[in-house]
Symmetry: C2
Subunit: 103 residues, 2 copies
């Protein structure tokens, strides 16, 4: 790995890192169904408004989502929808680890 490679892999890893939090991943998947405002996520996720806002900022900074203010609300939508295409594969990984909902 030379310096240029390091930069590229750092950039790629940052995109993955943005998706590697349960709340952020869940929100990104919700956006597959179309744009949502911040308040909708706050209601559904059950954490502080500021926490949701910061999570969305991470996804935005990574280039995964974009936002638009309309009136009092800010709507977020997927900028690069393919980012969730590989979820069936991720599911097969956790499947291979015999993940289940059991206690």
């Amino acid at each position: 790995m030379n310096a240029k490679d390091k930069k590229i892999y750092l950039a790629k890893a940052n995109v993955l890192k943005a998706l590697s939090h349960p709340t952020r991943l869940w929100m990104a998947e919700q956006l597959e169904g179309g744009e949502r405002c911040v308040c909708e996520f706050v209601d559904a996720v059950g954490v502080d408004f500021s926490t949701v806002s910061k999570h969305l900022a991470v996804l935005k900074q990574a280039g995964i989502v974009e936002d638009e203010k309309r009136g009092k609300k800010v709507f977020y939508r997927l900028k690069v929808p393919c980012v969730l295409k590989f979820m069936s594969c991720i599911e097969s990984v956790i499947g291979s680890e015999r993940f289940c909902g059991c206690p």
Copy 2:
């Protein structure tokens, strides 16, 4: 998000988290070309032996790679190759952020 959803998204996020480090992502991609022993990574990455070993342990714990000891060496290989299928998409994300090698 109920308790079961939380568990599932935590598990999925863990797989992504395992890949969200430049060194681990690079190593996972190298494994697409076939198995490698730890020492090969140490030489290429330029970081401590113990650090490489710990990174590989993270990938293993996530279910992405598996290892096999043969003689003195431990070989790692991809357990779920599809995990890297979405890299072209990740590249399009960093492309959309106008990522380049420039300073």
